[in-house]
């Protein structure tokens, strides 16, 4: 019991240190390039964490996640460019629009199970991209959306304001949303709702016999993950300022999937670790002509053969071996 308490506080200490590190990073990382990488890490971290909820904790392989990321990004971009919306209402509305579309898709797709669900959602993802590409009146098609504005500044009392013109302020913006995502999703995962999701991952029939409505729980998990995917999409749209149909492509889905798998599905830290490592690596190798997807594929094969639980799973295995030795 004593050991458990001590471990718990060590864990808290680590979280605190990470928080301080994340908050103080712009003090010594002043290069625009490195701040850009950090911002991308946070955005992909949000998207991967949200995918982990439906895939890792609820056990439904949702391959439409990139589609929802794209829908969120495009909704926000169109609301701001075509209807002249401010960033903040556009953010909220884009998330609502995406969740609504997610509800329609989820209702259909979640009637299928296992690999059929995976195939169905992937088809949906392809359809989203095709629609964005071809509905030129609305989305400008392959030309893309140009000049999506950065978030408008938030006025504070005494004539002060938070503006989002500098890189550091943009970093703090996405960091805030990353923390919010982690906080809310980890709350869900640790609650009875999270236990319900994990029960469905374990055995859907058994869950139903215990009075759990599998459809309801799966749809809820699907919608929550869709919401955060849209959030990541909106942040991406406003930060990059330019959108093309590729941002909703199924390649995005697979990149997110790879982040989750490499970091460790079904763990809170896994998708974040995966997203951070791979984003850093791929941004650093941006100039090098390097077949990225081939490398990912190779990495994936290695992970599934030797390290099923990803990086976090491997670390846990090492930790349990180490602590067993300590007991003997």
């Amino acid at each position: 019991m004593e050991k458990e308490v001590r471990l718990f506080s060590i864990r808290r200490l680590i979280y605190l240190l990470l928080l301080i590190l994340a908050l103080s990073l712009p003090l010594y990382v002043t290069s625009r390039f490195f701040l850009h990488i950090l911002i991308m890490c946070c955005i992909w971290g949000i998207a991967a964490t949200s995918m982990n909820l439906i895939m890792g904790y609820t056990g439904q392989v949702n391959l439409a996640h990139g589609g929802f990321f794209g829908i969120g990004a495009y909704s926000a971009g169109l609301l701001m460019l075509k209807l002249g919306f401010n960033f903040w209402p556009a953010l909220i509305l884009a998330c609502i629009i995406t969740v609504f579309l997610g509800f329609l898709i989820g209702l259909l797709a979640l009637r299928t199970k296992g690999s059929y669900f995976a195939i169905g959602t992937m088809c949906f993802n392809v359809i989203v991209t095709v629609i964005i590409e071809n509905w030129e009146d609305l989305t400008e098609g392959a030309r893309g959306l140009l000049g999506i504005p950065r978030p408008s500044s938030i006025p504070l009392p005494f004539g002060l304001e938070i503006s989002f013109s500098s890189m550091a302020s943009n970093y703090y913006l996405v960091l805030f949303f990353l923390f919010l995502t982690i906080l809310l999703i980890s709350r869900i995962v640790r609650s009875m709702m999270g236990r319900t999701f994990m029960a469905i991952r374990g055995n859907e029939e058994l869950s139903e016999s215990l009075g759990i409505s599998a459809m309801r729980a799966k749809l809820l998990s699907f919608l929550i993950s869709t919401f955060f995917a849209a959030l990541a999409g909106v942040l991406y749209a406003s930060y990059i300022g330019f959108l093309s149909p590729e941002i909703s492509d199924y390649h995005v889905t697979f990149e997110l999937l790879i982040y989750c798998l490499i970091g460790g599905l079904g763990t809170m830290a896994g998708p974040l670790i995966g997203a951070f490592i791979l984003t850093v690596v791929s941004e650093l190798l941006h100039g090098v002509p390097f077949p990225r997807l081939v490398a990912y594929g190779f990495l994936l094969v290695v992970i599934t053969i030797f390290l099923r639980g990803g990086i976090v799973g491997g670390a846990r295995l090492l930790w349990s071996r180490y602590s067993l030795k300590g007991k003997r």
């Binding site: 609650s191 009875m192 599998a214």
Partner: protein, 267 residues
């Protein structure tokens, strides 16, 4: 006279009533007009040769298969063809023939989720971290601890349930069903695949459940279990009810012997 009257009064309290239940799988009639009832507080056993429709009967009662014809009435309410989770919420819990537990999770976690259906756990209160949500989760935990002691698995509290023995998994699956606070508990072969010594401990557990005033319906193959513990027995063969009665009556019944051993033994 008075005594008989009281007994009669008790007899009339039917917890579950099944009327003319039929189930077709394509051209195969798995159940054909089955009528029976289970009284409050008794142990009711369903026996029959392989493929006689016992598990199908459970699956139709608990909503896993839709009924082709007939009615299932539970506590005076028609529950035919409701969804499995609704039926569980109404108070019928069940176990599966192929023991089902959440294999990757610990024993206590398995039991905690068993009480999920009795609490709210709404999204907003979880995101907000409200006090009520925490109180509800605490209730699930307490229930799980209570059941853990009841099924005598306190020592395996943190064991990953996939690593338990078959007997312990059966115990756990019964525990999870109990965690739903059922009025009626349907056990599909509670002693299947369990060795001879361990059977008696499971029988003891079933006895303890009866003492808690939970009505039991069970499917059994092993004669020791099927004949020793139930108050009444029903025999199925080819989807039809052959007979029903006390264990003693049933095992002397000609038709039952015929169904199990063939015509030559029935004389």
């Amino acid at each position: 006279m008075v005594k008989v009257f009281i007994k009669g009064e008790k007899m009339s309290r039917k917890l579950l009533e099944v009327k003319g239940l039929a189930k077709d799988f394509g051209g195969l009639r798995a159940l054909n007009g089955v009528d029976f009832y289970i009284q409050e507080g008794e142990i009711f056993s369903i026996i029959g040769p392989n493929g006689s429709g016992k598990t199908t009967l459970f699956n139709v009662i608990t909503g896993f298969h839709p009924a082709t014809k007939g009615k299932v009435i539970f506590g005076g309410e028609d529950i035919t063809n409701l969804k499995p989770f609704t039926i569980a919420q109404k108070g019928i819990a069940r176990t599966f023939q192929l023991t089902a537990v959440f294999a990757q999770q610990s024993v206590i976690d398995n039991l905690i989720v068993g009480h999920r259906l009795r609490i709210g756990a709404g999204l907003w209160s979880i995101l907000w971290g409200s006090r009520r949500t925490r109180a509800e989760e605490e209730r699930c935990r307490e229930k799980a601890e209570e059941i853990l002691a009841f099924i005598e698995m306190t020592r395996q509290r943190n064991t990953i349930s996939g690593n338990l023995t078959q007997e312990a998994q059966k115990r756990l699956s019964i525990g999870m069903a109990l965690a739903t606070d059922p009025k009626l508990l349907l056990l599909d072969e509670p002693t299947g695949g369990v060795n001879f010594q361990e059977i008696s401990s499971l029988i003891a557990l079933i006895g303890k459940i009866k003492e808690k005033n939970i009505t039991l319906g069970l499917i059994e193959h092993k004669m020791k279990v099927a004949m020793d513990i139930p108050d009444r027995v029903m025999v199925l063969n080819y989807g039809q009810k052959i007979t029903e009665g006390s264990p003693g009556e049933v095992c002397r019944d000609k038709r039952v012997i015929e169904a199990y051993l063939g015509k030559n033994y029935a004389a």
